[in-house]
Structure formats: structure tokens, C-alpha cells
């Protein structure tokens, strides 16, 4: 498994600005916005990583980002489907990380 850096310094700063700003404004925003900022932040991070063009899991992360971006705004109109997105994306991450761990164990 690769140990390469996959986010540029510019990307890092953009994500940091997003995280700091989110932490700051979430003090007064509706509590569910917190979940939104987290998955939106995850999607932004994936976006920067994809830009590097050096990801081993490009297909998985690309699809995950697409799915998150497609369904995240349902927070405003369809909470049930939005909650499903949170659950399903977390499950997808777990499945992928299991696969990565298995591959890593196989390597060693």
C-alpha cells in the first residue's frame, strides 16, 4: 500500500479553511448541519486527492464522492434518504478498508 502524499499543499489549505470555518459556524447552525459539513468535507478531500491522479482506489473514491455529492443536499428535503447516505457511505468505507487491510496483510 502506498505511503504517498495525495493532497497538494493548496488542497490542504482549502480543506483546512473549510474545517476551521465549519467548526466556527457550526456553533450556531442546526445540529444536522454538522453531519453535512463532515460528509461535504470528506467529499472535498476526495476531490483534491483525485486531482493528484495517483490514487490506488480512484474508482471507489470517485464513485463515493459522486454518490455523496448527488445525495447530500437531500438533508433539506428528504432526511430519510440523507440518513441512508450517511449509513451507506460509512458502510462502503468500512468494506473498502477491510479490502485494503486484507490486501496489506496479504502483502506482508
Amino acid at each position: 500500500m502506498s505511503q504517498r502524499m495525495v493532497v497538494s499543499e493548496e488542497g490542504l489549505y482549502e480543506v483546512l479553511a473549510f474545517l476551521f470555518s465549519s467548526a466556527h459556524i457550526l456553533v450556531n447552525e442546526p445540529h444536522l448541519y454538522g453531519t453535512f459539513r463532515l460528509i461535504d468535507g470528506a467529499s472535498r478531500l476526495i476531490g483534491f486527492a483525485l486531482e493528484s491522479g495517483e490514487l490506488e482506489d480512484e474508482e471507489f473514491l470517485g464513485h463515493l464522492k459522486e454518490d455523496v455529492d448527488e445525495r447530500k443536499f437531500l438533508l433539506m428535503t428528504d432526511e430519510e434518504t440523507y440518513f441512508k447516505l450517511l449509513e451507506e457511505s460509512t458502510r462502503a468505507m468500512a468494506k473498502q478498508m477491510k479490502k485494503r487491510a486484507a490486501a496489506r496483510d496479504g502483502d506482508s
Binding site: Y13, E14, A17, S21, H24, I25
Partner: protein
């Protein structure tokens, strides 16, 4: 387009084309804001128009609620007296909100899409725009030519939100 058509036809636009906003149009929008009512006619608002790529990028980076880059931002700021009480603080926001609505309706009439945002880090925006200490960014309006045509979101029926004489007594059309 009459006023009611503008009110009913306006949508929050979150995807914009790359076409830049013309300066005369931006000035017309500022003019619309200038004629908004304000409590006691105090006009404590100030409007910072951001169109340069570098400033826009900085503003967007500290506005987690803004998802796509618009052609311009109008940051509506209020001069906040240091000893302003809660009532006065609400008044500043109300005044800025009315000015924002003027901007959005006038923009809609000229084919420009807008969205009003509150999800941004005030301290960062103040720093980026170099606001004087007693000014606060109250609202950010994103502007640009629409790259989407969203359906109107559902609205409550009048009977569910309007009452005659006292709360709970149904409004009858």
C-alpha cells in the same frame, strides 16, 4: 416582469456559468439595495462587491455553505454599534435581509441568479475584506448567470400559515 412574477419566479441558484457579471448590472443591484427600507432610515449597511478571482476564491474557501464559484459576491455588512442591544442587532440583520431581497429580485429580473448565504466564517470574511472593526458581514449574496433551473420548492398553503384576526383562526381566501 412585474413584482409578483419576480417574487414567484426567483429561485436560489447554486450553479453558475463562467460568464462574468457586467459592472453596470452590479451597480443596478447596489441601487436596488440602496432603496431598501431600514429601521429609522439608519442605512447602517455597507456593500462589498467581490469579483476578482483571488478575492472570490478566498471568500469561498471560508464559506462552507457556498458550493460553486459565482461570478460575484455582494457581502452585505452592517455597522454595529459596540453597545448595540439584542433588539438593535436584530434590526441590523432585518435591514440587511430586506436589502438582500431587493438585490435578489432585481437580479432575477435581469436574468441573474442569486443565493443568499449565512454559512461563512465571519471572522475570516472580515479579515479578507479588511472590514473596519465595527462592521460585521451579515449576509453574503452569490451572483451569476444560472447554470441550473431548479423546480420551485414546496410552499405551505396560505391556510396553514396565515390567520385572520388571531392565531389559529384560519385565513379564508
Amino acid at each position: 416582469m412585474n413584482v409578483m412574477e419576480a417574487i414567484k419566479g426567483r429561485r436560489s441558484i447554486r450553479q453558475f456559468t463562467d460568464q462574468p457579471m457586467e459592472k453596470d448590472k452590479l451597480e443596478n443591484l447596489l441601487e436596488a439595495a440602496r432603496w431598501a427600507p431600514s429601521g429609522g432610515n439608519l442605512q447602517k449597511w455597507r456593500f462589498v462587491v467581490v469579483t476578482s478571482a483571488s478575492q472570490k476564491e478566498l471568500v469561498r474557501q471560508f464559506a462552507p455553505g457556498i458550493f460553486a464559484m459565482p461570478s460575484a459576491f455582494i457581502v452585505i455588512c452592517a455597522e454595529v454599534e459596540p453597545d448595540a442591544n439584542e433588539w438593535k442587532k436584530k434590526l441590523y440583520l432585518a435591514d440587511c435581509s430586506i436589502a438582500a431581497q431587493n438585490i435578489m429580485l432585481a437580479a432575477h429580473e435581469m436574468g441573474v441568479g442569486t443565493c443568499v448565504a449565512l454559512s461563512y466564517a465571519k471572522s475570516a470574511i472580515s479579515e479578507i475584506l479588511e472590514l473596519p472593526e465595527d462592521f460585521e458581514p451579515m449576509l453574503v449574496v452569490t451572483l451569476g448567470y444560472p447554470a441550473e433551473d431548479p423546480e420551485p420548492p414546496p410552499r405551505l398553503e396560505l391556510s396553514a400559515m396565515a390567520f385572520e384576526e388571531r392565531y389559529g383562526q384560519e385565513w379564508k381566501s
